[in-house]
């Protein structure tokens, strides 16, 4: 069970696939390999709705990447703790049940990871968006820090991984 999940949320529709493309760019750039094996898992979710909850279940930290419409310049990134999320955030939703609704349901059911971070990326016309690789590079240091903070918590990294880490098995 991976303690850190990075989930790109969206659909194949151009512009709405921003979360997917960003997740793929982070994986291709080697983000999971930056940490001990099995700690970080990157995946994409197609309009998960309430199924976002099982996708995050068991994680200590979930990082959600999703397209956002708030009127900012395309490519603008907004980082939110789930506790800050409200109806005015502008995250795009599927059939009226989007990330905000899924997190509200998860809170009510006490079925959420201890920490959920949302990276909302302002979407727009495809031509006006920075390439996903550039956006991934922009997010890289912050996400690395988010994961490091999580890994300092006791029990996040299994003992076997910790010894490997201390012996230089992974670059942190």
């Amino acid at each position: 069970m991976n303690p850190v999940r990075i989930l790109g949320i969206g659909s194949p529709v151009a512009g709405d696939d921003l979360g997917w493309r960003l997740a793929e760019a982070l994986e291709q750039a080697g983000l999971p390999r930056y940490f001990p094996a099995g700690v970080v898992h990157v995946t994409i979710c197609d309009r998960p709705g309430s199924l976002l909850l099982p996708a995050m279940r068991g994680a200590r930290l979930a990082i959600l990447l999703d397209a956002m419409r708030s009127g900012a310049l395309p490519g603008t990134v907004r980082r939110l703790d789930m506790l800050e999320l409200d109806d005015s955030t502008g995250l795009l939703s599927s059939h009226g049940f989007g990330v905000a609704e899924a997190l509200a349901l998860g809170r009510a059911l006490e079925d959420l990871p201890p920490r959920v971070l949302i990276y909302g990326i302002e979407t727009g016309h495809v031509s006006s968006l920075p390439p996903p690789g550039d956006l991934a590079a922009l997010l890289w240091p912050t996400i690395i820090d988010d994961i490091r903070v999580c890994m300092k918590e006791p029990g996040v990294v299994p003992l076997a991984m910790e010894s490997k880490q201390k012996s230089g098995g992974a670059s942190l």
Binding site: D46, S50, L53, S94
Partner: protein
């Protein structure tokens, strides 16, 4: 004294759903003068997109019409195309298509019952509020929904816009080990599904019988999904190819969605209509579970739709369990198609009701013309009739917020493709 007021209920456009609706209501002297449910359905454009496309592309293209019921679109399409080609995919494909469809009913109905409809009957504004008071019920509902999605993914490769179906069958046959593991999940979910039937029937559902015509498929010995004749509670009994002779669609100026009528009258499609016309085709445990509720089916209470949905979840799990028993892997998961010219019809039971397709193909299997009649447009006139009846029964002197809530509840009960949008109905009141 003459009273005149205009109420406008506006549903904003939703991303990905691309549904937009509003309710225009004019009341004079305590009576409804005008009631228009306006729905904009961009999926209609797909019929034009399909023209000129190869038959192999159609299942994947029509799956894009709806994120909630893509299997229904795929199944109506492949049956229509196979009808043109004279293709008989055989018992393995037939059975697995039925399991595939069970998955869609389970996920769509579970979503609607728990996330959309049930909060109305529990005095909750959302499923999150409902989850605080009834956490175990919501957990059970989410687990059923997830299992439905899993079944769709099992055959379709993914649960949203699946890609596993093709003309002639499936692209891949699951292994016996995979089927055994899925069947275990299905069996484990059965007690919860049976309990859900009783739970929905025990809700505080309004008792408001209405006169309406039910329309559904009817199969000689199965609860209908992929095959059957079109029947009605008024005695209609026709092959699916005759749909256009009895059902007419027409345009209303206020809506981009077409209205469908049966011999000039509104009619109901969907789970309540299906159950009303096919109770005797349900598996015995479902009939027994329904019998214990004390509700008599056929029912004229539209709010019994939620009970019908629960019964269909129970049925779909039993049916999937039955069809996956003694599973054997086929030599090939599909039968090759040989294109030929002709007109084909497909009519299957989407979670929301009858989904009728017609394709005119040329000798190479390219689409010359396509026609798709989705359930939501078939129910649109019935929804308006229900709204008129329900609002008048409630009392038009009620305040705007009460009228809006009642209108939302009535619309949601049909689970239209804009059902989620009705959560966001906004009231703009203009008084004259």
């Amino acid at each position: 004294m003459t009273q005149s007021r205009e109420i406008s209920l506006c549903v904003p456009v939703l991303a990905r759903v691309e549904g937009e609706g509003a309710l225009d209501l004019e009341v004079h002297d305590g009576r409804i003068q005008t009631l228009r449910l306006r729905i904009f359905e961009p999926p209609r454009l797909f019929e034009k997109f399909l023209e000129g496309r190869e038959y192999q592309e159609i299942p994947d293209m029509v799956a894009r019409i709806c994120g909630i019921c893509p299997v229904a679109y795929q199944m109506s399409a492949v049956h229509a195309i196979e009808g043109v080609f004279g293709l008989a995919p055989g018992p393995w494909v037939r059975a697995m298509r039925r399991v595939f469809y069970c998955g869609e009913w389970i996920q769509s109905h579970s979503l609607h019952i728990h996330l959309l409809a049930a909060p109305d009957f529990l005095g909750c504004s959302s499923v999150s509020e409902m989850a605080r008071a009834h956490p175990d019920v919501v957990r059970r509902g989410l687990a059923l929904q997830a299992l439905g999605n899993e079944i769709i993914r099992f055959f379709g490769g993914r649960s949203v816009h699946p890609v596993g179906a093709r003309v002639g069958g499936f692209h891949r046959a699951p292994s016996r080990a995979e089927v055994a593991a899925l069947r275990e999940q299905v069996r484990a979910a059965l007690p919860g599904a049976e309990a859900l039937v009783a739970w929905t029937a025990a809700l505080n559902l309004p008792d408001d019988p209405q006169d309406f015509v039910s329309v559904a498929l009817r199969h000689q010995d199965e609860y209908p999904m992929n095959e059957g004749r079109i029947v009605s509670s008024d005695g209609l009994d026709i092959p699916i190819a005759d749909y256009e002779s009895h059902f007419r669609e027409h345009q209303e100026p206020h809506s981009t969605a077409l209205y469908a009528a049966l011999d000039g009258r509104p009619y109901l499609v969907g789970p309540l209509a299906r159950l009303n016309l096919n109770l005797d085709r349900m598996h015995t445990p479902v009939r027994e579970a329904l019998g214990r509720t004390g509700i008599a089916f056929p029912s004229r209470n539209m709010f019994h739709s939620i009970v019908a949905r629960a019964a269909e979840i129970h049925y779909a799990l039993l049916e999937a369990n039955r069809l996956l028993e003694d599973y054997t892997e086929p030599e090939a998961p599909f039968v090759p198609a040989v294109p030929r010219v002709g007109i084909g019809y497909g009519c299957t039971e989407a979670p929301r009701g009858l989904l009728w397709h017609r394709y005119d193909l040329d000798a190479a299997g390219q689409v010359l013309h396509a026609r798709i009649v989705p359930p939501t447009s078939q129910n649109q006139a019935r929804m308006e009739a229900d709204l008129r009846h329900s609002l008048e029964t409630l009392g038009l002197d009620r305040d705007d917020e009460t009228l809006r809530q009642q209108a939302e509840m009535v619309i949601r009960n049909y689970d239209p493709c804009i059902s989620c949008a009705t959560h966001f109905l906004k009231v703009r009141v203009e008084r004259r």
